[in-house]
Amino acid sequence: MADTAKKSTKTVKKIEEKKPPGKYRVEVIAGKCIGAASCVAIAPKVFALDSKQIAYVISEDELDDTKLLAAQSCPTAAIVVIDTETGEQVWPK
C-alpha cells in the first residue's frame, strides 16, 4: 500500500513536470506563414522553421507572455493563441 502511494506521488510529480508552465497553447497556420522567423527569435523553445521555412511548434514549454509576444510579432498573424482554461482565442483578436 505504502509502495503504491509512493508510486502514485511520483507519477503525479512526473505529470506536473511535463505540464506547460502557462495556460496558453499555440498553433501555426502554415498557409499564412512567410518564414519571417520572428516567433523563433522570441520563443526559440516553442517554434522552429522546417526546411521550407514554415514555422511549427516544437514545445509548449514557455511562459504565456513570451508565447503571446511571439504570436503578436508575426507579420502575418499566422500564430493562434488559445487559452486552454477558457477555450477562448487570445490572439489574433
Binding site: 519571417a36 522570441i42 521555412q53
Partner: protein, 249 residues
C-alpha cells in the same frame, strides 16, 4: 531556397525610441528616424526588421530597418501606408517627439556571409524588390558597399507603379556614381511616355538585362511576386540555394 541564420544572433528586446524625423516622401511612403532611448544602442544585421507596437489596439506591425547597422543609436524605417491598416494609420498620425516602442532585431534575412560555403557560389549579387521591399535592400547594399567593401558586381532591380514611387532614386543614383560595381535598374509598370528606362514588371527588367548565372539572388516584396520570381529563376537554371527571399504580407 535556403533558410538563413543571421551571422550575429542577438536576442530581440523591447526598445523605446523617440521619433525625431518624419518625412512624407509621396502619397504612399513615409520615412521615420527613431532615436533610441532605452536601450540606447542596437546591434543588428542589415536586412533585419522591427516589430512596432501600435498603441491603443494591442497590435504589432513589422517593418524592415532601412538604415545600416553602423547607425547603432537609431533605426530608420520606410513605411508604405497604402494598406491603410492600423499600422499605416499609426504611422500617418504619430508626431515628432512622441515615444514609440518596438521589438528588435528580428528576422533572418541577410547577405550570405563569407564563412558560409554558399557565398563561394555567389560571384555577384542581384537584388530584386517591388514597392517597400526596397527598405531592407537599402540597408544591405549600403552596408555591403561601404562597410564590407564588397567589390562583386551588385545589381538592384526595383519595381514600382509610378515614377513618383521611386522615393530612394537619388540615394541609389548616388551609390551608382560612387561604386562602379553597383548598377541600379528602376522599372515602372505605369510609366509616363517620357520614361526612358525599363517598363513593366521586375521580370521584364530581368529579361532585358539578363540573368547573372553565378549571382546570389535576393528578392523582397509581396509574396506572389517573390514566388513568381523565384520560380522564374529556377526555370532559368539558377540553383535554389542561392535564391534568398523576404516575403511581405
Amino acid at each position: 531556397m535556403t533558410p538563413q541564420q543571421p551571422p550575429v544572433r542577438i536576442p530581440p528586446q523591447i526598445y523605446t525610441a523617440v521619433l525625431t524625423e518624419k518625412k512624407q516622401l509621396n502619397a504612399r511612403y513615409f520615412f521615420l528616424h527613431l532615436e533610441l532611448q532605452m536601450p540606447n544602442r542596437i546591434t543588428f544585421t542589415a536586412g533585419q526588421h522591427v516589430s512596432l507596437s501600435v498603441p491603443g489596439i494591442d497590435q504589432r506591425k513589422s517593418y524592415s530597418i532601412t538604415s545600416t547597422p553602423e547607425m547603432n543609436h537609431a533605426v530608420e524605417l520606410l513605411v508604405d501606408i497604402q494598406p491603410q491598416g492600423p499600422g499605416s494609420q499609426y504611422i500617418s498620425q504619430v508626431n515628432i517627439g512622441e515615444e514609440v516602442s518596438f521589438l528588435a532585431p528580428l528576422g533572418r534575412y541577410h547577405i550570405t556571409q563569407q564563412d558560409d560555403p554558399i557565398c563561394e557560389k555567389e560571384k555577384a549579387l542581384t537584388f530584386i524588390a517591388t514597392g517597400s521591399g526596397i527598405a531592407p535592400f537599402k540597408s544591405m547594399i549600403i552596408d555591403q558597399l561601404r562597410r564590407v567593401g564588397d567589390t562583386r558586381k551588385i545589381r538592384l532591380i526595383w519595381g514600382v507603379r509610378h515614377e513618383d514611387d521611386l522615393v530612394l532614386l537619388e540615394k541609389f543614383e548616388e551609390l551608382q556614381l560612387g561604386f562602379p560595381n553597383f548598377e541600379f535598374h528602376p522599372v515602372i509598370s505605369q510609366a509616363q511616355p517620357e520614361w526612358n528606362l525599363c517598363r513593366g514588371h521586375v521580370d521584364d527588367c530581368l529579361n532585358v538585362h539578363g540573368f547573372i548565372p553565378e549571382s546570389g539572388y535576393y528578392i523582397c516584396g509581396n509574396k506572389e511576386m517573390v514566388q513568381q520570381i523565384a520560380d522564374l529563376l529556377i526555370q532559368k537554371g539558377i540553383s535554389e540555394d542561392i535564391i534568398h527571399w523576404e516575403k511581405y504580407n
